[in-house]
Amino acid sequence: MFSALFVMALGAVILGAALGYAAVKFRVEGDPLVEKIDSILPQTQCGQCGFPGCRPYAEAIAKGEADINCCPPGGEEGIKKLADLLGREFKPLSGEHGVEKPKSVAVIDENVCIGCTLCLQACPVDAIVGAAKQMHTIVAAQCTGCELCIEPCPVDCIAMLPIAEAVDNWKWKYPVFDIAQRRAA
């Protein structure tokens, strides 16, 4: 009886000491996983996922507090990439966080703009150029389509225009045809 207890206690002490030493020796600071998740997210900083930006969402995913299917601008592609990275199951986009929309940029109707700078302050990537009482304009190349500027505008002069297909961003279509669709057409 005592020998049994002694043997087990000995084992526990030795292994415990070894593990304690290892825990100190192999301490890990920081969390590079968050960087990897953040690099997959589309950086629109729109808040549709329920977090105040893409980085907080990435941190929540890394901690396991948030699911991977909350980002509409990232779309199905983004969810697939996150599922691949984290080894989790792929889930379709959760409806409560929004729907996947075609890529658009915001445009200010210059006839209506009053120069109040409210949209300037709302834009998370500083893509709106202007000053108080001066005309505001959106730099289309830098607009991420997050739609955060539409709400603050007091005269409703901002609209979202889908990005048109041009020769330089045209993509070849997927060559597989759905026979049922073809029959219906």
Binding site: S3, A4, L15, A18, A22, F26, K36, L85, G87
Partner: protein
């Protein structure tokens, strides 16, 4: 010398841990979606199993048997293996956080992997000496890695194939595993040469 070779060969092919003894199916199904993670898991298990098998033999022959404590075998082995797994996890987290994140829950689950407890116990029952124990553990884990890598390669292909909707994912994985098991039965003939 040849007996050592037979031990290793037997452990890798003839009595493959996953496909013939049907032990350790949890990581076999769970970590084999990608080749890199399968290799990582195989490497981790090799380290744990080889070390575990040797340590278990030492504990059994020097601590338990002289003190008539054979009934504590399972308990003692589990404690040892748990500590080794914890050590492995710490090392992996430090050296490859990517692998650590991808292996996720399966890394600490090596502790409860029936293969990792089963091989030391089987080792004792086969009355090996210390060197043979190490070889047995090493061979079994190489067989485990082999099965995992083959399966991961197959699954990567299956990913893009036209599988009927109800069979996708785990279902086709199990069917494939079963067919691989059938294939490995062919090695049973090697037993004759021992």
């Amino acid at each position: 010398m040849t007996s050592y070779l037979f031990i290793v060969l037997g452990a890798v092919l003839v009595n493959n841990v996953v496909l013939v003894r049907i032990l350790g199916l949890c990581p076999f199904m769970g970590v084999s979606k990608k080749l890199e993670t399968a290799v990582g898991m195989g490497a981790a298990t090799t380290f744990v199993l080889t070390l575990g098998c040797g340590t278990s033999y030492v504990i059994d022959s020097w601590l338990l048997i002289p003190n008539d404590l054979e009934y504590l075998r399972t308990l003692a082995f589990i404690v040892t293996i748990a500590a080794i797994v914890q050590l492995t996890e710490l090392v992996i987290q430090k050296t490859s956080p990517m692998l650590h994140q991808v292996l996720g829950i399966y890394l600490p689950l090596i502790t409860t992997n029936c293969a990792v407890l089963g091989i030391p116990l089987l080792n004792i029952s086969q009355k090996h000496n210390f060197v043979e124990s190490l070889l047995f553990g090493f061979g079994s884990s190489i067989g485990f890695t082999l099965a995992l890598v083959l399966f991961a390669g197959l699954r990567e292909r299956l990913d893009g194939a036209d599988i009927p909707k109800n069979f996708r994912g785990t279902a086709i994985g199990f069917i494939t595993g079963g067919i691989m098991s059938l294939a490995f039965m062919g090695f049973a003939g090697l037993d004759k040469y021992k």
